[in-house]
C-alpha cells in the first residue's frame, strides 16, 4: 500500500489558489490613486490517476498512471489534450524467461529415456551374419496375447509396489520386436498345434496337427507318411547341438510335442488316446522317448545323442494303466498311467540313457547336478503341472518354470557345439480358458522370470533368445481406470476413489472376457480349473461386495462357452542376440523358424553332419 501513497491524490482535482493582477511601473511617488481593477482569474492545474492491470505495456506487473496538465477549458476535468506530463508508478515485475518448447520436451524424463533407447539402438549393428548364434532359446507363452503381456506387466509392477503401468517385463527389454500372424492354414483363429508347427518347421499347417504339412487329414493316420516336416530342434540335434524341451503343460501337449513329434492329431498323447485306425502311428509320448532312434532311422548312418532335457507334466502318458506305477495318486483313487499297452516308457527311457536322471518331485529335481547330468527327464504331474499360484498344493512338489529353465541350461550348456531349447509356459493358456486372469497373469509373470534367468545364464553375444506366443485369447483391458488402479480390480475413474458404475448401475472390472464360463468368486482358490466344476454363469453380476483381486475370482464373460476361447489377433515376437534384428514388422508366424535357422545356420550345420 505504501507504493500507492501518491495515488491518494487519485481522483481529486485540485484548484490552485487564484493569482492577483500585475503591478504598474514605478512612478514618482504620487498621490495615492484609486484602487486598481482585479486581474483575470488564473487557470487550474489538474492531476488524474488510473490503475494499470498486470500485463500493461508500461507496467507489466501493473501499477498506476499519473497524468498532469492545465485545465485549459476550465471544466475541471483533465482531457487528453490537456495532459502535459505522464508518469507511471509500477509494481515490481520479473519478466518470465522465454518458454523453450523444445527444451521443455527434451528435458522430459520420458523423452530422455526414449532418446537413450534410440541412441543405443543406433549404436548397434543391424548387420546380421548367418550362423552367429551358437545357442537358440525359443520361449513360448501359450496364449500370451498382447493384452496378457500388458496386464501381466502392470500386475508385476503393482506387486513390486509400483503404480504398474511403467513396469517392464524381462523380455520387454529386448531390443527387437515384431508381430506374428497366427492363423492356421484352415483356421482363422488357431490352436497351439498348428501354430507351434509353424514356428518349429517354418511351414503353416492345419489346426490340431503336429509336425506335418497341410496335406494331412486330421485324425487320419494313413496321411502322415509323406507329409512330415523336419523342425528346428531336429536340425539342431543333427547339427550336434544339445537339445531340450521344457513345459508346464504335459510334455506331450501340442506345443512341446510340435518340437519332436509328427502326429495327425494333437490328442494322440498315448496309445489309449488313439483310435484303432491309428495303430500304425506312434503316440506322442512314445515319439518323445524314441526321438533319437526315430531320427537315426530317418537318416541311415546318423548318430545323435537324443534329447538332453525333457521336463514338464504328463506322466500319465508314459505309465501303464496300473496302480502299481502310481507316483503321487493314492492307489485307491485309481491308476495314474493311461497306457493300455502295458509299456512303462519312463523305464524304457532309463534303459536307453543309462547316464540319465529321471525325476518326479521337487526334491529329486533339486538334487540334480546339471553340470554333470548328460540326460534329464522330469515328469512332475500326471497331467499338466500346476498353475504357478497353485504350485504349493502339489503333493510331491513341483519346480517353477524359472527353476526348470535354469536346470535345463545347466545341462545343455555342457555341449561345446551349443544348444537348442524350447521353453513353454503352457498354463497361461489354461488360466484364460478357465476365465481366470489371476492365474494367466501370475503364470505370465513367472514366464518372464524364466526368460530373465535365461538371459542371466547365457552369453548375449552367442545366444539368440526369442520370446513369443502361439496365439491370443479373448481377454480385454477395458474402461477408463485411473493410473495405478489395481489391474485385477474394479474400474475406478481418474479423480475418483470409488468404483465407476456402468449404465446398469453396477461396478465392473478392468479385465474381462468376451466368452467363457463367466463369473466365479472362489476366494483363495488358486486352481483356476476349479471353475469347471461349476455351471456356466455368464453376463453381468453385481460386483459391489466382491473382492475381484482374489485368486479365485473369475472375470465376467459375455458369450457362454464351455471354455473361454483363443483369439485371432497378432501376437508379439521379442528377440535378443545374434539374428534378433531379423525380428521386425508383421510376419507370418512361420518366419520365426527362419530367423532361428538363419541365426544358427541350422540346415548347413545339420547337412554337414549327415553321413
Amino acid at each position: 500500500m505504501n507504493l500507492f501513497k501518491k495515488s491518494v491524490l487519485a481522483t481529486a482535482v485540485l484548484a490552485l489558489a487564484a493569482c492577483s493582477g500585475d503591478d504598474g511601473a514605478t512612478g514618482p511617488q504620487g498621490t495615492t490613486g484609486p484602487a486598481g481593477v482585479d486581474g483575470s482569474a488564473g487557470l487550474s492545474s489538474l492531476i488524474a490517476t488510473a490503475t494499470l492491470s498486470e500485463g500493461d505495456t508500461n507496467c507489466p506487473g501493473g501499477g498506476t498512471q499519473i497524468d498532469s496538465g492545465i485545465d485549459t477549458d476550465g471544466n475541471g476535468e483533465l482531457a487528453s489534450g490537456e495532459i502535459t506530463s505522464t508518469e507511471f508508478l509500477c509494481l515490481p515485475f520479473t519478466p518470465p524467461v522465454a518458454f523453450d518448447i523444445q527444451a521443455n520436451t527434451e528435458e522430459n524424463a520420458w523423452y530422455k529415456a526414449g532418446d537413450a533407447e534410440v541412441e543405443a539402438a543406433g549404436a548397434r549393428s543391424y548387420t546380421e551374419t548367418r550362423g552367429q548364434a551358437k545357442n537358440v532359446i525359443l520361449f513360448v507363452g501359450d496364449g500370451m496375447g498382447v493384452s496378457t503381456v500388458t496386464a501381466a506387466r502392470i500386475l508385476e509392477g503393482q506387486l513390486k509396489g509400483m503404480m504398474g503401468e511403467e513396469n517392464v517385463l524381462s523380455f520387454g527389454e529386448f531390443p527387437f520386436s515384431g508381430l506374428a500372424k497366427t492363423y492356421n492354414v484352415d483356421a482363422q483363429t488357431p490352436d497351439s498345434a498348428g501354430t507351434m508347427t509353424a514356428m518349429m518347421s517354418g511351414v503353416k499347417t492345419d489346426v490340431g496337427t503336429i509336425g506335418v504339412d497341410e496335406d494331412i487329414v486330421r485324425g487320419d493316420c494313413s496321411t502322415v507318411a509323406g507329409n512330415e516336416m523336419i523342425g528346428a530342434l531336429e536340425l539342431a540335434e543333427i547339427a550336434g547341438k544339445a537339445t531340450g524341451v521344457v513345459s508346464t503343460a504335459r510334455i506331450t501337449h501340442a506345443t512341446p510335442a510340435a518340437t519332436y513329434a509328427k502326429s495327425a492329431d494333437r490328442n494322440w498323447e498315448d496309445v489309449s488316446d488313439k483310435p484303432a485306425s491309428a495303430a500304425d502311428c506312434d503316440d506322442i509320448a512314445l515319439q518323445l522317448v524314441e526321438f533319437e532312434a526315430n531320427l537315426e532311422a530317418r537318416y541311415p548312418g546318423l548318430d545323435v545323442d537324443g534329447l538332453e532335457v525333457a521336463m514338464g507334466g504328463g506322466r500319465r502318458h508314459f505309465l501303464p494303466n496300473d496302480v502299481s506305477f502310481n507316483v503321487e495318486r493314492d492307489v485307491a483313487d485309481g491308476a495314474e498311467g493311461d497306457r493300455t499297452d502295458a509299456r512303462d516308457l519312463t523305464a524304457e527311457w532309463l534303459a536307453t540313457y543309462a547316464d540319465g536322471v529321471y525325476v518326479n518331485t521337487l526334491a529329486e529335481f533339486s538334487a540334480v547336478d546339471g553340470d554333470n547330468t548328460p540326460h534329464l527327464f522330469g515328469l512332475f504331474n500326471e497331467s499338466h503341472m500346476r498353475y504357478e499360484a497353485d504350485r504349493y498344493n502339489d503333493v510331491g512338489g513341483e519346480p517353477s518354470l524359472r527353476d526348470m529353465t535354469e536346470k535345463a541350461i545347466q545341462v545343455l550348456d555342457n555341449d561345446d557345439d551349443g544348444f537348442f531349447l524350447m521353453v513353454e509356459s503352457g498354463r497361461i493358456d489354461h488360466g484364460h480358458h478357465a476365465g481366470s486372469a489371476y492365474s494367466a497373469l501370475t503364470d505370465t509373470i513367472e514366464f518372464a522370470e524364466a526368460v530373465a534367468k535365461a538371459v542371466e545364464l547365457t552369453d548375449a553375444e552367442e545366444t539368440l533368445i526369442i520370446v513369443t506366443a502361439d496365439h491370443s485369447h479373448v481377454f480385454t483391458i477395458a474402461g477408463y481406470p485411473k493410473r495405478g488402479n489395481p489391474i485385477l480390480g474394479k474400474v475406478v475413474s481418474v479423480g475418483s476413489n470409488s468404483p465407476a458404475m456402468a449404465s446398469d448401475d453396477m461396478p465392473y472390472t478392468t479385465l474381462g472376457y468376451t466368452n467363457g464360463r463367466g463369473f466365479r468368486a472362489l476366494g483363495n482358490e488358486t486352481d483356476a480349473d476349479a471353475s469347471y466344476g461349476i455351471d456356466i454363469d455368464t453376463g453381468r453380476k453385481d460386483l459391489l461386495f466382491v473382492d475381484t483381486q482374489t485368486p479365485g475370482f473369475h472375470q465376467e464373460a459375455l458369450v457362454p462357452t464351455s471354455s473361454e476361447t483363443h483369439a485371432g489377433e497378432d501376437v508379439g515376437i521379442y528377440a535378443s542376440g545374434p539374428g534378433a534384428s531379423l525380428v521386425t514388422g508383421t510376419n507370418e508366424q512361420s518366419v520365426i523358424f527362419h530367423v532361428m535357422e538363419y541365426a544358427a545356420d541350422l540346415i548347413a550345420d545339420a547337412e554337414a553332419n549327415l553321413p
Partner: protein, 256 residues
C-alpha cells in the same frame, strides 16, 4: 446303465417303477448275509412336482442309480446317459470323472472346488445322497425293521425346506426321501438294490476305455464335435440329488 443290467436282485420285494408311489412302497426286506457293501447299486425312482398353491402344475419322473464301487461312488442318470464318478482323493480335492455313455467319452478333472471344511460333508453327500451335516440336524421320530432292514424315521424342518427321511443305517442310504420346499416337491424312493462285484468292475473297466479329456483341455479342442455339444449337455455336476434351496444351493449337502 446297460453295463450294469446283469443284476442280482438282493431284496425280495420286486419293485416296479410304475408302482413307486410312496404310499404303496413296502418296507425293505434284504437278505443281509448276501450283501457286499463295497459293490452294489441303489436304484431310485425320482419324482419331482412343481407346486403352485399346493396344486401340481408340473411333474417329472426319472431313474437315478447310485453305485458303490469300493471307495468310489458313481451317480448314473439313466435318462441322460451321463454319470459322474467321485473318488475321495487326498488333500482337499474330490476327484471326479464325467462319463457320457452314449458317446463313449469321458471328461476328467481332479480339482473339484470344495470350500474349506466341507470336503467330508460333500463326500458323504456324494456317497450317501444325504450329507452327514444334514443328517446330524434331523430329528428321529421312530424306526422299524432290524439288521440291514432297519429303517430310521427322521425329519427336518426349516424356513427353507422340510424333509422326511426313511434312513437305512446299514447301507447309509435313504429308503425314502421327501423334500418339500417353496414351489417344489421331490420324492426319492429306493426301488432296487442290484449288482455284483464282477459286473460292476467290468462296467467300470468299459468306462475307463472311453476317450478321456481333461477339463483344462476342452478349450484347445473346440473343433471336437462332442466337446462342442457339451455346451448344450452341460456340466450337471450338481444334479446328484436334485434338491436345491431358493438360492440354488444343494439341499443334500445342507449345513449351517
Amino acid at each position: 446303465v446297460k453295463n450294469f443290467l446283469s443284476v442280482i436282485t438282493l431284496f425280495t420285494c420286486a419293485w416296479l417303477l410304475t408302482a413307486c408311489d410312496s404310499r404303496k412302497i413296502k418296507a425293505p426286506s434284504y437278505a443281509c448275509d448276501d450283501l457286499d457293501m463295497a459293490y452294489f447299486g441303489a436304484r431310485y425312482h425320482v419324482q419331482q412336482q412343481g407346486l403352485n398353491d399346493e396344486h401340481v402344475h408340473h411333474e417329472e419322473a426319472s431313474v437315478f442309480t447310485l453305485w458303490r464301487i469300493d471307495n468310489k461312488v458313481l451317480h448314473e442318470y439313466d435318462d441322460q446317459g451321463i454319470s459322474f464318478l467321485y473318488s475321495n482323493g487326498s488333500g482337499e480335492r474330490l476327484i471326479s470323472h464325467q462319463f457320457f455313455d452314449r458317446d463313449k467319452r469321458a471328461i476328467e478333472f481332479d480339482s473339484k472346488f470344495i470350500p474349506e471344511n466341507q470336503k467330508n460333508s460333500l463326500w458323504s453327500q456324494k456317497k450317501n445322497l444325504v450329507s452327514d451335516a444334514l443328517l446330524s440336524q434331523m430329528k428321529k421320530s421312530g424306526e422299524h425293521g432290524k439288521n440291514c432292514n432297519k429303517v430310521e424315521h427322521l425329519t427336518f424342518e426349516s424356513e427353507e425346506f422340510n424333509a422326511e427321511l426313511h434312513w437305512l443305517p446299514a447301507f447309509e442310504l435313504p429308503f425314502k426321501l421327501e423334500i418339500v420346499q417353496k414351489g417344489q416337491h421331490k420324492h426319492w424312493q429306493l426301488v432296487d438294490i442290484v449288482g455284483n462285484e464282477a459286473d460292476i468292475k467290468q462296467a467300470m473297466l468299459e468306462r475307463n476305455k472311453y476317450l478321456s479329456t481333461d477339463f483344462a483341455d476342452i478349450g484347445d479342442n473346440e473343433t471336437d464335435p462332442f466337446l462342442r455339444n457339451m455346451i448344450n449337455l452341460g456340466f450337471i455336476d450338481h444334479g446328484n440329488s436334485g434338491f436345491y434351496d431358493s438360492d440354488g444351493n444343494d439341499i443334500g449337502s445342507h449345513h449351517h
